[in-house]
Subunit: 355 residues, 2 copies
Amino acid sequence: MVLKNDRFLKALLRVEVDVTPVWMMRQAGRYLPEYRAIRKQAGDFLSLCQNPELACEVTLQPLRRYPFDAAILFSDILTIPDAMGQGLYFVEGEGPKFRKVIRTAEDVENLPDVDIASELSYVTDAVSLIRRELNGQVPLIGFSGSPWTLATYMIEGGGSKDFRLAKKFMYDNPEAMHELLSKLARAVTDYLNAQIQAGAQAIQIFDTWGGILTTQSYQANSLNYMKSIVENLIPENEGRKVPVILFTKNGGQWLESIVDTNCSAVGLDWTTEIGIARERIGSRAALQGNMDPTLLYTSPDAIRREVKQILKSYGPGAGHVFNLGHGITPEVDPDNVAVFVEAVHEFSAQYHSGE
Amino acid sequence: MVLKNDRFLKALLRVEVDVTPVWMMRQAGRYLPEYRAIRKQAGDFLSLCQNPELACEVTLQPLRRYPFDAAILFSDILTIPDAMGQGLYFVEGEGPKFRKVIRTAEDVENLPDVDIASELSYVTDAVSLIRRELNGQVPLIGFSGSPWTLATYMIEGGGSKDFRLAKKFMYDNPEAMHELLSKLARAVTDYLNAQIQAGAQAIQIFDTWGGILTTQSYQANSLNYMKSIVENLIPENEGRKVPVILFTKNGGQWLESIVDTNCSAVGLDWTTEIGIARERIGSRAALQGNMDPTLLYTSPDAIRREVKQILKSYGPGAGHVFNLGHGITPEVDPDNVAVFVEAVHEFSAQYHSGE
């Protein structure tokens, strides 16, 4: 199938394009009234993730409104622990929770291996369906949470302010923690490879909570496992390289070591100046980011100013995928998203010589 | 008055000492049963801050238990906006709130200048009293929140998950924001100078929320105002230099520019590797930090291992004040604090040649 818009994949491989490609983390989400309607129809968030037709529909919704250069599978980062029997559920306004928690080496021991093909077929079915419906309009991104990020939720039983249980487990039971992370890394690898085989054309690993660690514990407990995933992913499919983006929120101090994983691109949150990041990593990887999502609450003028500033900071040439520095939030006015996407395409042309 | 233990002040000026000095952010706090007793007696948190005798008592409590090398004034970072009439109050388990909020340029315009001498005499009285009671045992640290951090609370009306109101104000009303930050910087300067005159022997500025900004907006809206404060503080008192510590949580990417303010020391949270920080800033400033406070929930062995690792990372020589990377939390076992403090003194001797 011919890909009509391959800016996103090209930019991830640092190949020149006509304008900087752009997508948004959580672009299929609650800020869209049409998403809220489907979500209501599905019942709850998890039912929506588990229904391939509805997941496909919400994946495509933002593309009907905005000229995004990529689609991202609608799913949750915590599908794997759920498939391991941990009982994922969502409480409105409180984020994800697990019915079972990991607190001992024995809990880790008893954690079953996941049969991706059967337990997570709702995800691969959604990927296949989205690819068919996209019909080559833009590439499709598959994703998972990082092993460390999954482990924090599994140990804490949900989100946390200071992750003291997850950190206590890591510091007091380092062997059991590494056993847990190894199990998760194997499952994430299989899961992402299943997404690639079903049609995902690029992969993003969300390391939402790597940035709460010390440098040493980040390397050992988060980055190390992402590296093993990157090494074991299917490198090419349908005759194209499948680029991998690693996004560690608050990971700006560790860009050089993130690039050492041989990922294709590094996701940046907004606290890192993208031009400085580019100087630091040179031509070793592409960069994705990094407008502060709260800019979408400001005026169109402020949004355009910030987009210009980020494009200027990155400068001319290939290797930049524009994105927010974190997911879009539910209360954003959809009109401001249009301003954002148009500004990226309009103001970036001057920095590119590709076609 | 003779200072019996000047390790802390020496280390801040990068003068050699016998062992690495140590104190803890929030060392006078809820993890101590004797603190909870006084807090109960005072009624609420703000009444405790505003009572010099009780504030003095809780400041001294941790020094009776542990061989800390510095005392820090017991107070709140938000006393200035409260003195400006914003109506600070505390809801148990929810953090600080303000009855009035800043939402327009007019609100900024109407914000009164603070007469530190009258409005905040409870703070300077506490400083004088603590100095008298300390009787030269260890030096006393005075402090304030940074202008940007104060502004976020004043605009949001309290804490926030994403600070969208504060950021919206900054992006949409940059002139009014700079007017607000200028007013706050003048007040913080006067306030800290009053603390120095009352006897504070070192100053720490808590920039709790600088790290939520982009690099450019951090420089313009937070660091720039801290720089003007550093420039206008009383440099010496009682024949000694008064060192200034700047602590921007999540500021690890910006150490070089923080040092450009001519502060004496930079506070590090635990995400920055202290040895790498030392390489980056050389001999331009001392470093304070940086054990993850959640280590205090782990075993004595894990605490000692981490203390050793941080001391080794900093390496031999002057210029390190040991601390946590953020405040101690209420549920910590006080015995683990003893393990922490003793480990710093015990394991650091090998890195020092001073006396």
